[in-house]
């Protein structure tokens, strides 16, 4: 008889993340729709603000993050919807997979997705709004990763909750948006500094805020998530 043995948290995260990315890849039509949705959002800001190119360039960082935020609601909402068909989340819990590993894998998967999306949006933003990345690609990607992680951690917890509630499509952004205002603020500010230069050395404090936000919410999610999905 085959005997199973417990696997480490890290290994479980790797298995689950691999599974999620595989599903994401196999349903990439949906992924493409998400990409075009966020590109369309980015384009819409130019029309909403008008043809003032200076204004657009100045606000480019904010627009990038708003586009990412709107896309993230769709991506996050989907991350537990795929587990709802055939009750696969129950299947994972009973496998058994550590609920904390499920949290980490989902949050990491969402981070990967959002960072990928951001990496596609940034060149478009540069072209569309006529900005240049003054501080270079390194800081830009660092801020992108930190900001996406900051959205993904609380977003994963709230997505798991909203997924089982009524009106889940409204509930997720309603709960998530006010929560991640500090992260949005910091990410947009930091991005603007990366784009326009940082003469007063403020980038450090905004990235510090992002790092602190991440530490708190990844920690809280890690501790609280098992209570959300276990009954």
């Amino acid at each position: 008889m085959r005997r199973s043995r417990p696997i480490s948290l890290l290994k479980a995260v790797v298995v689950l993340l691999g599974k999620d990315l595989l599903i994401e890849w196999r349903t990439r039509a949906r992924l493409n729709a998400l990409i075009f949705f966020s590109l369309a959002t980015l384009l819409l800001f130019s029309f909403a603000v008008g043809p003032d190119t200076k204004l657009l360039a100045r606000n480019a960082g904010g627009y990038l993050w708003l586009a990412l935020l709107f896309a993230s609601v769709l991506a996050l909402g989907e991350s537990f919807r795929v587990e709802q068909e055939n009750l696969t989340l129950d299947g994972l819990r009973m496998a058994p997979a550590d609920a904390r590993a499920i949290f980490l894998s989902k949050a990491l998967g969402n981070t990967v997705l959002l960072v990928g999306l951001g990496a596609l949006l940034i060149p478009v933003m540069i072209a569309l709004y006529g900005v240049k990345v003054t501080l270079g690609a390194g800081p830009m990607l660092g801020i992108l990763a930190l900001g996406c992680m900051a959205v993904a951690a609380p977003g994963t917890v709230y997505s798991a909750i909203a997924n089982n509630a009524r009106a889940r499509d409204v509930l997720l952004p309603l709960m998530l948006f006010p929560l991640i205002i500090p992260a949005l603020l910091a990410a947009a500010k930091a991005t603007t500094l990366v784009l326009q230069g940082d003469p007063m050395n403020q980038l450090g404090s905004w990235s510090g805020l992002l790092i602190g936000f991440n530490l708190i919410y990844w920690g809280l999610g890690f501790v609280l998530f098992p209570r959300v999905i276990e009954d």
């Binding site: 009524r166 509930l171 709960m175 500090p182 805020l209």
Partner: protein, 275 residues
């Protein structure tokens, strides 16, 4: 006003408020449960009278007795209601957080009911305070909304707790609702300091615009009396809302006709462990 009068008002209002809070806790335990036989009418009337008297005294102190502000004239007087309302909102959110943590540690319908009551009453006081803040902003800054860090942080907080209440409405299973809303309550509370610092930072990098919050010693008495009056009001609101929440929970988790005749007595919320 004589120093004696001053002391009487200061300590009298504090004593009255603390007595009412004590009574409120007692009534919450004895009278709020649905099967309670207690006749709380005399105490409730007494508490309401205390609230009205203190509010009247506070109103008189704030509107008549307190001196005009040197810079803002009479406009500043709104702080006598605005500031206490905001304090009460903070207080209820701390209470909500305590309930959320407590529920996750040990499931109990009473904690869940108190969490619901505190969030809703907190929203009421916070919303009231926010509107007053905006009204005050108009003559002070010329606009209703100046993105003042305090008010902005408060507005974000109100939206956060509105979402918390929305979640409570949108989840039908009482056990799940209690656990999930506790998780959301804890996360929302953890967010408050982050919001506060980030908003302050965000504003300070643009322009220095601080609210004149330095209160003259003469004005302190009026503010204190009003704050104690608001605390009594808060206690009453919480008590009634808690009673309603308990009754709702009771109806949800142990509707008698939903149970077969000799089904378990599940009215005792303590025995309901949510693992």
């Amino acid at each position: 006003m004589s120093g004696l009068m001053n002391a009487v008002l200061q300590y009298g209002s504090a004593a009255a408020a603390l007595v009412v809070v004590g009574l409120g806790i007692r009534l919450g335990r004895k009278w709020a449960p649905v099967d309670s036989q207690m006749d709380a009418r005399p105490m409730l009337v007494g508490m309401s009278v205390a609230a009205l008297v203190l509010l009247a005294v506070g109103g008189w102190l704030g509107l008549v007795w307190s001196p005009q502000d040197r810079e803002m004239g009479d406009v500043y007087r709104i702080i006598y209601v605005h500031v206490p309302a905001m304090w009460m909102a903070m207080l209820t959110l701390v209470l909500n957080f305590a309930c959320c943590v407590s529920y996750l540690l040990k499931a109990n319908w009473k904690t869940d009911a108190l969490a619901e009551a505190s969030a809703e009453v907190g929203l009421l006081f916070g919303g009231f305070g926010l509107v007053l803040g905006a009204i005050w902003g108009r003559p002070t800054w010329g606009v209703y909304w100046d993105w003042d860090p305090r008010l902005t942080a408060m507005a974000i907080m109100l939206v956060t707790y509105t979402a918390y209440m929305a979640l409570r409405r949108f989840v039908e299973d009482p056990d799940k609702r209690a656990v999930w809303s506790s998780v959301v309550g804890i996360i929302s509370f953890a967010n408050l300091p982050i919001v506060w610092f980030s908003v302050k930072w965000w504003r300070s990098l643009h322009q220095v615009q601080s609210t004149p919050k330095t209160v003259d010693p003469e004005m302190a008495l009026s503010l204190r009396v009003n704050a104690w009056a608001f605390l009594i009001l808060l206690t009453l609101f919480l008590l009634h809302r808690y009673r309603i929440a308990l009754a709702t929970r009771e109806a949800e988790v142990a509707l008698p006709d939903a149970l077969p005749p000799d089904a378990p007595a599940s009215r005792d919320g303590n025995s309901t462990e949510v693992a």
